[in-house]
């Protein structure tokens, strides 16, 4: 069905899939390297067309706005976060192209996130699994909006307990970032993650309401590395 993938990937890149199709394809991108490669190929085929746009000089004030943001948000450093992360990640097939188009890969409980605007290009993603098995959770992080979304894909219920999310930055101690909703997707806002660091997201089983101590007390049931997605 190579042609099928190619047509879907082509439409995805063009942006002519409808919302449901887009989401379905985005889920596929997380697990299907052939689909990722197909999108990358279309990107390569078509991207020279972008440069046909006639130039237009923006207002002088625009640079001032950009400069202001830049001054407050520099987390660059000369290393290929993406490549580093690739080495660490065994789980996720990566979207290697500028696949924007309102990704809202939250099929499980669209109602709970429906009030939010569709997020732009996903920047970082982690698929959390039980020691390398089928992903149980997909975690995405958009550093522009500082929003982390946690989408259960295949999570066993833990009656009477809460599932608590932790972030482990580099060698630092796990830091609690919140509890998962009982069911459906969870959106965590105002999350400032330093993406320069290797980042692992983990889920532990805790007493109802979360760890009483601020440290993880229950077993780690899922974990996975956060992988930065290149935007082209």
């Amino acid at each position: 069905m190579a042609d099928d993938i190619d047509m879907l990937a082509g439409e995805y890149l063009l942006g002519t899939l409808d919302q449901a199709e887009t989401r379905a394809f985005q889920r596929r991108l997380l697990t299907d390297p052939a689909a990722v490669a197909a999108v990358a190929m279309w990107q390569e085929r078509l991207s020279p067309l972008l440069l046909t746009a006639p130039e237009a000089v923006p207002a002088a004030g625009l640079w001032t706005r950009i400069e202001a943001i830049e001054a407050s948000a520099n987390d660059n450093r000369p290393l290929r976060r993406w490549q580093m992360a690739t080495a660490a990640a065994a789980l996720v097939a990566l979207v290697s192209t500028g696949v924007a188009l309102s990704p809202r890969p939250a099929p499980v409980a669209p109602v709970q996130v429906a009030q939010q605007a569709p997020s732009p290009l996903l920047q970082s993603v982690a698929a959390l699994s039980e020691q390398g098995s089928t992903p149980a959770l997909i975690v995405t992080y958009d550093p522009t909006k500082r929003v982390m979304r946690v989408m259960p894909v295949n999570v066993a219920p833990r009656p009477g307990h809460s599932l608590e999310l932790w972030v482990i930055a580099g060698k630092a101690a796990p830091k609690s970032i919140g509890l998962m909703r009982e069911n459906g997707a969870t959106a965590l806002e105002k999350m400032a993650l330093d993406m320069r660091q290797d980042m692992t997201i983990a889920v532990t089983v805790e007493p109802k309401g979360g760890s009483p101590t601020g440290l993880a007390t229950g077993p780690v049931i899922y974990s996975g590395p956060m992988v930065s997605l290149p935007t082209s």
Partner: protein, 176 residues
């Protein structure tokens, strides 16, 4: 410093060099603004998209991979995606700009090879005009399937099948 290569500038940007970022902006912003304006003709939206696009460029410069294309194409793709996101999100109504496609502007001295560009041009030429127009309208103007359907007065199913035929022929021509 206009002789500075964009790849070198981008490398400096990745290291947090703000002066390099300013020069990268000077060198690329007119092209990127042109790209964004096709998708978001209203300048206030287009400027929002530019701001977001350059914020991404600044943040993600370290992720630029020279093997995947030239810096201008990389930046152009980021700008397009941001603009389309904004367009889908804000749905600025009925201001699609339908412009002629300028084949002569199809040049990317620092990126795609002359053969690649020539092939793209030939293969686009071989498409039926309707198929070509649809692909360009979607890719360059950011029109969704529904918008194309409304503007052209054909059912979305028809648009989809035309797009498929166009994409299939384009792929066959470019890869073959």
């Amino acid at each position: 410093m206009s002789t500075e290569d964009l790849p070198d500038l981008l490398l400096a940007v990745a290291q947090g060099d703000r002066a390099a970022f300013a020069r990268f902006y000077q060198r690329t912003s007119a092209k990127l603004f042109g790209i964004v304006l096709r998708i978001l003709p209203e300048r206030s939206f287009a400027e929002d998209a530019m701001q977001e696009a350059y914020a991404k460029i600044w943040r993600n410069a370290a992720g630029y991979d020279a093997q995947r294309g030239s810096p201008i194409t990389w930046a152009a793709t980021i700008a397009r995606n941001v603009a389309i996101d904004l367009r889908r999100r804000e749905r600025p109504a009925g201001r699609t700009r339908v412009e002629d496609f300028d084949f002569n502007a199809l040049s990317d001295p620092s990126g795609a090879s002359a053969e690649q560009l020539a092939a793209l041009r030939i293969c686009l030429d071989r498409l039926d005009p309707e198929q070509r127009a649809l692909i360009l309208a979607a890719y360059l103007n950011g029109e969704s399937r529904e918008e194309l359907s409304e503007r052209l007065g054909h059912p979305t199913g028809t648009i989809k099948s035309w797009l498929h035929r166009g994409l299939a022929r384009l792929k066959g021509c470019l890869d073959g």
